[in-house]
Amino acid sequence: MKAAQFDYVKPKTLSEALDLLVETGDDARLMAGGQTLLATLNMRLSEPSILIDITGITELKGISVQGESLRIGALVTHTEIEDSDLVAKHAPLLKLAVPHIAHRAIRNLGTWGGSLAYGDPAAEWPACSITLQATMIIRGPSGERRIGAEEFFIDLYTTSLEPDEILVATEIPIASKDQISYFNELARRHGDYAVAGIAAVAKKSGDVLRDCVFTFFSVGATPVVATKAQALIDGQELNDQLIKEAVEIARSEIEAIADLTNSAVAKQHLIGVLLERCLKDMLAQK
């Protein structure tokens, strides 16, 4: 199907884009990679009168290390993350996650910021950003503000972004030497929307995990952190019994929501499956 008619503008600077947003209001849609937006327009689920293409704004690009943080610009593509040595070194979780995002042709255009701003419950980046304790950097008419990833995702397809704001970049604390990561996503076919997924990190010494974060996605309207399971595991020697208990707690603390693929009961079950695989993998990691 073809999209309805719209006008198209490609601002050169961030302030130009922000001014345009204020001018056009809800009649405009921001476009970064367009891999979700254009499909939405093709199906006429959205009929904006103007598309603001922000891909020309250099301020939103680039991956760099600044002090103790890894800064990823909103326009960084999934492929750029896949190919980045800085990401491999300082945020290895992202490297584990990226092959699960759709397929290469989509990854070549789709962006880090686009995925975060859209906040699809089945998306990989929102969960990863929470696990890695990212800070979102947002620019609006009144200037710049920062907000933690966990507060950023509010509800289904709803983030803290106001209609006149643009996500500019995120800052992620660089991984410590003892940090290990685990990522897994269950889908009917590779590249499909996730049925359930986990993005996890922990600090490991011997068989003990500390500062664990287990974030589940595609089980609720936003990514969900299994705080009780984390508390159980933290500082304890990991063994089969503890894993079993953690799995039970995770299944009871998260209230899953059904979707077109699975019932809530099935999702609840898969939460346990994913956590078990995660903990067994983390136990085996050197």
């Binding site: 199907m1 073809k2 999209a3 309805a4 008619q5 719209f6 006008d7 198209y8 367009g34 891999q35 254009l38 499909a39 327009l41 093709n42 199906m43 598309l51 293409d53 891909t55 492929t79 092959p99 759709a102 397929h103 290469r104 042709a105 989509i106 070549n108 255009l109 076919r189 590779h190 590249g191």
Partner: protein, 159 residues
């Protein structure tokens, strides 16, 4: 007031200029305005891969890319890639392994395979399968396609 935009780009090595509606997808512009029928329309949602073309050296979905976005870019379709000879060994391998039947997926499949060979010259069979999972084929059952790609990977590695 007309919404049409003036764009210019290089398509298969030739300079092209046009005035088009912003909503026109790149794949429709290539097929209908430039008569390059190599890329095909399947799902128009980015899932099937039949519309895959190359923009600035990387594969993209022609149905999820506006022609206006290609302004100032280098665009390549299967026609250009064939003419340049860049896909010769892949295309020969496809024929040898019977990796084409109706041919609808082939344009996208070849361009996707070409990017794999370029980016992951040591890809394993499993990696090949994962990479081409973004291109649907309704005829071959995929094995012959994977065989053809693996064939080319090993030939190039041993070259």
């Amino acid at each position: 007031m007309s919404l049409k935009k003036k764009i210019s780009m290089t398509v298969n090595g030739e300079a092209v200029s046009a005035e088009i509606d912003p909503r026109r997808h790149l794949v429709d512009f290539l097929r209908e305005d430039l008569f390059l029928k190599g890329p095909h329309l399947g799902c128009e949602q980015g899932a099937c891969g039949a519309c895959t073309v190359k923009v600035n050296g990387q594969i993209i979905r022609g149905c999820l890319f506006l022609a206006v976005q290609a302004d100032g870019s280098i665009v390549e379709t299967i026609e250009g890639a064939t003419k340049s000879g860049a896909l010769e060994d892949l295309q020969n391998a496809f024929m040898r392994h019977n990796a084409m039947q109706c041919g609808f997926c082939s344009s996208g499949m070849l361009l996707a395979a070409a990017e794999l060979i370029e980016k992951q010259p040591h890809a394993t069979r499993a990696q090949v399968r994962e990479w081409i999972s973004g291109n649907y084929c309704r005829c071959t059952g995929y094995h012959s396609i994977v065989n053809a790609i693996v064939d080319v990977l090993s030939a190039r590695a041993n070259a």
